[in-house]
Symmetry: C3
Subunit: 214 residues, 3 copies
């Protein structure tokens, strides 16, 4: 049976890898490129977290389910691409890619904020650094993904991205401290994070710009 | 009281985070982006150093003063931006941003060259690798900053950047070996590094290009 | 005498550093930039591998031969650039740079796939993660090189790049398991990897693209 903290981590890996694979499709990469960008995005955030808190070897090397999950996510994206071919118009394809990307990217924030914060707490970090590790796990894979395709990462663009991750990590902090092992609450934290990100995109929420003559 | 080696590290974090925040302002990022790029630049170089020499968890997770210092630096940049708004012309604003950036970036080289070399020596590295870690700490945050905004890092551009960091690290090596704990000498090494970088920019010093028909 | 696993690692460092230095020449970087990009490319892949499998400090800091080898490779590239100057036409220079780059980049894949897989196995990783570390060592330096010059890494482009590295790593897996210490076989694995990459470029082999209306 899948242990609960690992479940969240694997869900994060799946959604993150799917976001990487979708980005690869959008960028016109070939099948190998899709698998590589999917794996880098799915495993990158957790790898950075594990290296920083001192887990050797990191989970993605010690546990075969990580690489398998990331590969399955990329294969699912490839399969969907083959299935949709010829059925839908170019416009519909683009809309589908964008919507799917937004959803898996938001889910990634939620699952990884919870799993990253929880793992950091279990390895003895204080609540604030643990929440910081939650944010890093949540945004790390996406930063690697965007840097690999030579784009400015989403976390720096004018979107509500770091804020949902930070809120989700702080909720995960509280959940882990006061009711450790409370899975429904952890799921609620992940869902709230993903929902906050989705609503922010939908309502076009932005953080404030500093004043500048431009 | 602040322990001396940590003082240099925190000064490096402050100036590096300020350079990241100023870059974010120049790039038109929002308040969250400024805080994120400030933190990544301020904490990135030391994080890479700590991971490489085997400090788990790295200082920025174990010691709350690191994240606080980086955040204060970014907030100072934001406050200066609000204060200057409306008072100065566009030209003056751009000049102020450029000058401020150059100064904090040079100070970062100095403080981090000294603190990075010193920490590596304390963790048992030989002098040459320790100086290499000094250079990596000094330029690391800036490399992360420039890669995040999808630009070629300063250390690879035609500027005197790696050379001042290397000289500062070698001086720090000597200071640490022959007179450990000599703070005035360490300050002098940091100041010399920063001054060398500033003079190089001012006098337009460049390293030689290899011959090429271009 | 050079211990055998280290020999492969140093050969990988030499060819990877040469590929970084050649890229720096092509990009018009100065002598310092050539040395820095050479060192980052030569030492980056092994550093990531060592950090992930928990070698502290990583080989490039613990063993002076790593930095020396990377520096010698960059100096050799610089020397060749000086020697060729004035002798050859612009067209011949560009062709020489491209050919030299392709060869050292292919050799890097071969040497690092073997040394990375072997080191991961010696540190107790299972065969599949060990092969994954072989791939990461082989492509890691090049990814860092391409990200530093703000280009999309070769491993994501439409080329046979990850596949030769994966095949080489799996062969190295088998060699290490069934006949540990069999150097001729290890050399054959490295040579096969490099050859596969060279043939793929020569014959213009590509991985398949997923279907898309574009």
């Amino acid at each position: 049976m899948v242990h609960l903290p690992i479940l969240f981590d694997l869900l994060g890996v799946f959604s993150a890898a799917a976001s990487g694979a979708l980005t690869a499709v959008r960028k016109g990469l070939d099948l190998v490129g899709i698998l590589v960008l999917g794996a880098a995005t799915g495993l990158g955030g957790g790898a950075v977290r594990d290296v920083l808190i001192g887990v050797h070897p990191p989970a993605f090397l010690a546990d075969w389910r990580y690489l398998t999950t990331a590969t399955l996510a990329s294969l699912a994206v490839i399969a969907a691409q083959y299935q949709a071919f010829g059925v839908e118009s170019e416009l519909r394809e683009r809309a589908r890619l964008t919507t799917a990307y937004l959803i898996v990217d938001s889910l990634t924030l939620g699952f990884f904020a919870v799993s990253g914060t929880g793992k950091a707490l279990r390895y003895g970090l204080a609540p604030v650094p643990a929440a910081l590790m939650g944010v890093l796990t949540a945004v790390g894979g996406g930063v690697i993904r965007d840097m690999l395709i030579a784009e400015v990462p989403t976390v720096l663009r004018r979107e509500f991205y770091a804020i949902p991750a930070a809120i989700g990590s702080l909720i995960a902090d509280a959940v882990n401290r006061y009711t450790p092992g409370a899975t429904p609450l952890a799921f609620a934290a992940a869902a709230a994070t993903a929902a906050l990100r989705l609503i922010a995109v939908r309502r076009d929420w932005h953080a404030q710009l500093p004043p500048a003559r431009r």
